[in-house]
């Protein structure tokens, strides 16, 4: 099995700010908790370890909304691989974020149904009126937007977005504005609405 490079790991882990996953927008990832999540992903051999890496990253990404570098280090150590390998996965697969989410999180569907019903205009609108582009967060840290190139699968209500836990369909720019204002005014965050999606044993043993 590959071993993680101790010099790099040591350097990053010794930075107290990074050890807590601290970030300018103040979101932190508790590494002890990450280790707890990883404990579900036990493996019997090399192949199984490799197969579980993506699922584990997804679980962490779902839980915290992103995967920090220190968290990636912990994942690498758990599966006996390198941090660069993990980082390579985080930057290749669109679902993963390497920066924290804002307080509210929007998945804006840009599948073909939504495109033919005008989602392009909504993306432009978010940029113009809210100053937030794909995968970006507003300056005040209130809202992160992720444009979904795949499909949210609610095509009869296109264009649609998922804001925290709520789907808002038949979107217009005004409806989008209202939804964002309501969410921000209501306080809370995407976490309140968050339910772990993938539960149960992994590899179903």
């Amino acid at each position: 099995m590959e071993q993680s490079s101790p010099s790099v790991v040591g350097q990053i882990a010794s930075d107290p700010a990074l050890e807590n996953g601290a970030h300018p927008t103040g979101d932190a990832i508790d590494l002890a908790e990450v280790r707890q999540i990883l404990a579900q992903f036990h493996y019997r051999d090399f192949q199984e370890a490799q197969e579980l890496i993506l699922s584990a990253l997804q679980e962490i990404n779902e839980h915290y909304g992103w995967v920090s570098l220190p968290a990636a280090e912990v994942v690498a150590a758990h599966f006996g691989t390198t941090a660069s390998r993990i980082y390579g996965l985080l930057t290749f697969y669109a679902d993963f974020r390497t920066e924290p989410r804002g307080k509210h999180f929007m998945l804006l569907c840009h599948g073909m149904a939504c495109y033919v019903m005008g989602s392009q205009r909504l993306i432009q609108h978010l940029e113009d009126d809210w100053g937030v582009a794909d995968a970006g967060t507003t300056a005040d840290g209130e809202l992160t937007v992720q444009v979904v190139n795949g499909c949210l699968g609610v095509c009869d209500r296109a264009p649609i977005c998922k804001l925290d836990a709520d789907y808002i369909g038949d979107l217009t720019a005004e409806k989008l504005n209202d939804a964002i204002r309501t969410a921000i005014a209501g306080g809370g965050s995407w976490r309140d609405a968050h339910h772990p999606v993938v539960t149960g044993s992994f590899h179903d043993r």
Partner: protein
């Protein structure tokens, strides 16, 4: 908790008691309320409807079930009510606040149809509704009928019967012969005959062997595989097990797109339940056969729908395709023989084993046997997921099944084959929907997703959208795709802004040819197809942008006020 079933007898016994309980449920004196919950109805409040129903019936002997949607997204959230002495009636557009009056029998006007052969009290059978009447459901047969989380429901309705037949009554050769005779072709888009694939899988000598199900479905317009996971995960699992048994595979993987949390949850539940019953794992039904089932999840990369990329993703690295040969059936996952099938293909297998390949080959057309699940998007009245025999025309689908255009929307065209083919216009709707017919005009069945667009969509802008999708989703391994698609987008943007020239049209054609001829994988080789299709079908729109600086749809950023003035003239 049931013990593992260790013989055919034990399985038959379990089957009998499950169907007795099933019959008792539907013939009994209890009220049965089935709320249709799937990823699209959840977006419209189906979980709240379910909770409201449970609340109303708390402490009574009524039965509240969580079933999946039946594909009719236009009537969601839907609730089916079966009263004693009446057939089950499906009601549409039920909000949580409607539950009380619905149960009091006040919302008769929202009854869409009766699930069953005959109408009741003036409500026609569901199967007479235009949305359902052209359908022939094989894979979707149990959608909205069984509780996907209940393996007992599934077994009562015949699940795993085909697996038992393969294990106890058939040799591997016989089972493969049925699949070959059925004419079943891969439902992921390529249309490769499943029987031939299985045969080469069975003959491969390296060990261990693997079966992999491609449930990634990364196209921006298809949601059929997600719905099979949500509606009847047992069909997929049974197909995987049959494929593993006849090809001699030791392990079967289902690689599911990570965007499908509900489908993943229901599939995992199906696997856990089947394992508990001894249908998977070691010594299946006492036959001495072992098949391990594993679930992998994708991370939102379109390229992972490509076979070799998918396998790299299962192996936990970046999903980037490799050159072929060797084909995956010789050297796939972990460099071992791997039989890769689409979800829908495998989900059709149990019915083929049960009814015979001959039966399946009689449905559909001569070269495209069977049924196909199809999804539609766009401004149509009855948007939803359907399963029709191959060979039905697009006109029947669009004007009949999907109810035609909504008010105020004029049909402009229909994009076929996802991001891998071109559109068809109103004059071309009489082409049959099967693997081969549409290719002569640049269309494609692909994985069965159609996108209808209206006068507000500009073909240039749509071509830009489709090309930009390929630009974002290119895995960046090979240069023609990685650099070629951004170049196309750049030229298209020039045209959209009104700065294009006639030269740009031939430049796009040349660039497209490079991408098609030189890209490494199948996805790269078809990436420019939507653009070429749009240029072929709507040449005037491209010329209008270039020469008159006019975007008739008003979608492109050139001179929008001028367009409005022209439209008003």
């Amino acid at each position: 908790m049931t013990d593992k079933l260790t013989s055919r007898e034990a399985f038959a016994q379990f089957q009998r008691s499950a169907s007795e309980r099933w019959d008792a449920l539907w013939q009994g004196e209890k009220l049965v309320v089935s709320v249709q919950v799937d990823s699209s109805s959840v977006a419209k409040g189906a979980l709240q409807v379910l909770a409201a129903c449970r609340e109303v019936f708390r402490g009574t002997d009524a039965i509240v079930r969580e079933v999946s949607g039946n594909g009719a997204m236009w009537m969601e959230p839907a609730v089916e009510i079966k009263r004693p002495g009446e057939p089950p009636i499906v009601y549409g557009w039920i909000e949580p606040g409607d539950v009380t009056s619905l149960l009091a029998g006040e919302l008769r006007d929202r009854a869409v149809g009766v699930r069953g052969p005959n109408g009741f009290a003036g409500i026609p059978p569901l199967s007479e509704h235009p949305f359902f009447q052209h359908q022939h459901r094989i894979v979707m047969e149990e959608f909205g009928v069984i509780e996907p989380d209940s393996i007992e429901d599934a077994i009562a309705r015949g699940a795993y019967g085909a697996l038992a037949k393969v294990l106890f009554e058939m040799t591997a050769e016989e089972a493969i012969a049925e699949v070959t005779a059925s004419g079943l072709r891969g439902r992921g888009g390529a249309g490769f005959p499943a029987g031939i694939k299985w045969e080469s899988g069975r003959k491969a000598r390296n060990r261990p062997k693997f079966v992999v199900v491609n449930s990634h479905e990364g196209e921006p317009n298809v949601y059929k595989d997600r719905r099979i996971h949500e509606g009847d995960p047992h069909k997929i699992l049974e197909g995987m097990l049959i494929s593993s048994v006849v090809c001699g595979a030791d392990r079967a993987y289902n690689y599911i797109g990570g965007e499908y949390p509900l489908g993943i949850r229901r599939f995992r539940k199906a696997v856990a339940d089947a394992e508990q019953l001894g249908l998977i794992g070691e010594n299946i039904l006492g036959t001495g056969r072992d098949v391990e089932v594993r679930v992998g999840t994708g991370g939102g990369a379109y390229i992972c729908g490509e076979g070799s990329a998918l396998m790299y993703s299962v192996m936990g690295v970046r999903g980037q395709p490799r050159t072929k040969p060797p084909r995956s059936v010789e050297e796939g996952l972990w460099k071992r023989p791997t039989i890769l099938n689409n979800t829908e293909t495998l989900a059709a297998v149990p019915a083929i084993i049960n009814n015979g390949g001959e039966w399946f080959s009689q449905i559909g057309t001569a070269t495209s046997a069977g049924t196909k699940m199809m999804t539609v998007q766009g401004p149509l009245k009855h948007v939803g997921l359907v399963e029709t025999p191959m060979g039905v025309t697009l006109r029947t689908l669009i004007d009949g099944v999907w109810g035609g255009m909504r008010e105020g929307h004029q049909f402009r065209g229909v994009q076929t084959g996802g991001v891998s083919a071109g559109p068809l216009t109103a004059e071309q709707l009489d082409y049959a929907v099967d693997f081969d017919s549409m290719t002569e005009v640049g269309g494609m069945l692909g994985s069965g997703g159609f996108v209808v667009f209206d006068q507000h969509v500009c073909p240039v802008d749509f071509a830009r959208y489709l090309t930009a999708f390929n630009r974002v989703e290119s895995c960046a391994k090979c240069t023609p795709c990685h650099r070629g698609n951004p170049a196309l987008v750049e030229i298209l943007d020039r045209i959209r802004l009104g700065g294009g020239s006639r030269e740009d049209l031939s430049l796009m054609e040349r660039t497209s040819k490079h991408i098609i001829d030189l890209s490494l994988c199948g996805l790269g080789q078809v990436a420019p197809m939507p653009l070429l299709g749009m240029m072929k079908m709507y040449p005037q729109d491209f010329l209008d942008h270039i020469e008159n600086h006019v975007c008739a749809a008003g979608a492109c950023p050139i001179a929008t006020p001028v367009v409005l003035a022209t439209a008003a003239d």
